[in-house]
């Protein structure tokens, strides 16, 4: 969450800290972090792909996935990327009111998605797929759980950003803070784009 704090390279450059690339430190760090996260989710996805058919006595993916339901929640997450990007442009226009509005909408959509996931998990458990039921279960919950935690952290970040904008605690470049949160948020979305296809749509 350190990334949500504020500081800009341009401000620093007034004092002799110049920035060799002209790019913001925070943004570079965020993109590096996202590059790194590719390998994290890659590992979890590969584990799932390897184990998705190994169901022991538990249910098979095709028996429990509720594609229409997941499609809707995927759509919700996808649209939250739109609202996020609207928040970013609002912030760049220095329009605090709209920034906060769109950030809040994004958070609500994200929370809806997480809610959907919680609902999905409880249904699956009721249908007999626990975390320890089978390799399929373990790797499914690990992958989607990790993603869910990322979304939840994102929601907290969004709401915190709204909070500090409201209280005017951001003294640096507000637009950049929103943009950084946005990058993280979109990343969580693209991971889901992959998960939705590989995990849900392609039968094991």
């Amino acid at each position: 969450m350190a990334e949500t704090a504020t500081h800009t390279a341009d401000h620093a450059s007034d004092h002799g800290h110049h920035s060799s690339t002209g790019l913001s430190n925070n943004k570079l760090a965020m993109w590096l972090f996202l590059g790194s996260e590719c390998l994290l989710f890659g590992g979890l996805i590969s584990t799932y792909m390897l184990y998705r058919g190994r169901v022991s006595d538990g249910p098979h993916p095709s028996q429990i996935y509720d594609i229409p339901f997941t499609s809707v929640s995927s759509f919700v997450l996808l649209m939250s990327s739109l609202t996020m990007v609207l928040a970013v442009t609002a912030a760049q226009r220095k329009d605090d009111r709209r920034t906060n509005l769109w950030l809040t909408v994004t958070a609500v959509l994200g929370a809806t998605f997480v809610g959907g996931q919680v609902y999905e998990f409880t249904t699956f458990i009721r249908e007999g797929l626990g975390f320890t039921t089978s390799l399929f279960g373990s790797s499914f919950y690990s992958l989607t759980g990790f993603h869910g935690v990322h979304v939840s952290v994102g929601v907290i970040m969004l709401l915190s950003t709204v909070g500090i904008i409201k209280k005017n605690k951001i003294t640096g470049n507000k637009a950049e803070v929103v943009e950084l949160v946005g990058l993280y948020w979109h990343f969580v979305d693209i991971v889901w784009i992959i998960i939705f296809t590989l995990v849900y749509l392609i039968p094991a």
Binding site: D10, K27, L32, F41, G42, L50, T89, I193, L201
Partner: protein, 99 residues
């Protein structure tokens, strides 16, 4: 680099973003339709292509990578490429793609 200079290259209007979102929504709808309609041999390739298109669109437009400095693309796509390389290779040694 000053703030304003940075914003100029982000050059997309809200309307543009909404357009992108609509395209994404349409592709998603198409993806979901594979669940109901039989695509035959096109099933896997079409799903993969649609997935990649969505991915790239979000990264390029929503995340501005298309307009931003190349350095960001380098950092992110290096990670992505390495991830694809190592994991596909590892799965290949499990004979995952043959079985």
């Amino acid at each position: 680099m000053s703030e304003t200079a940075e914003h100029h290259d982000h050059g997309m209007s809200d309307a543009g973003y909404i357009k992108i979102a609509l395209i994404l929504a349409a592709i998603t709808a198409l993806e979901v339709s594979t669940y109901y309609v039989d695509f035959g041999p096109l099933f896997m390739p079409s799903l993969m292509i649609m997935m990649v298109i969505k991915f790239v669109m979000v990264v390029s437009y929503f995340m501005h990578l298309k307009f931003d400095n190349k350095m960001f693309s380098f950092l992110f796509y290096t990670g992505l490429a390495l991830a694809l390389f190592v994991y596909i290779t590892a799965l290949a040694t499990f004979k995952f793609f043959i079985a």
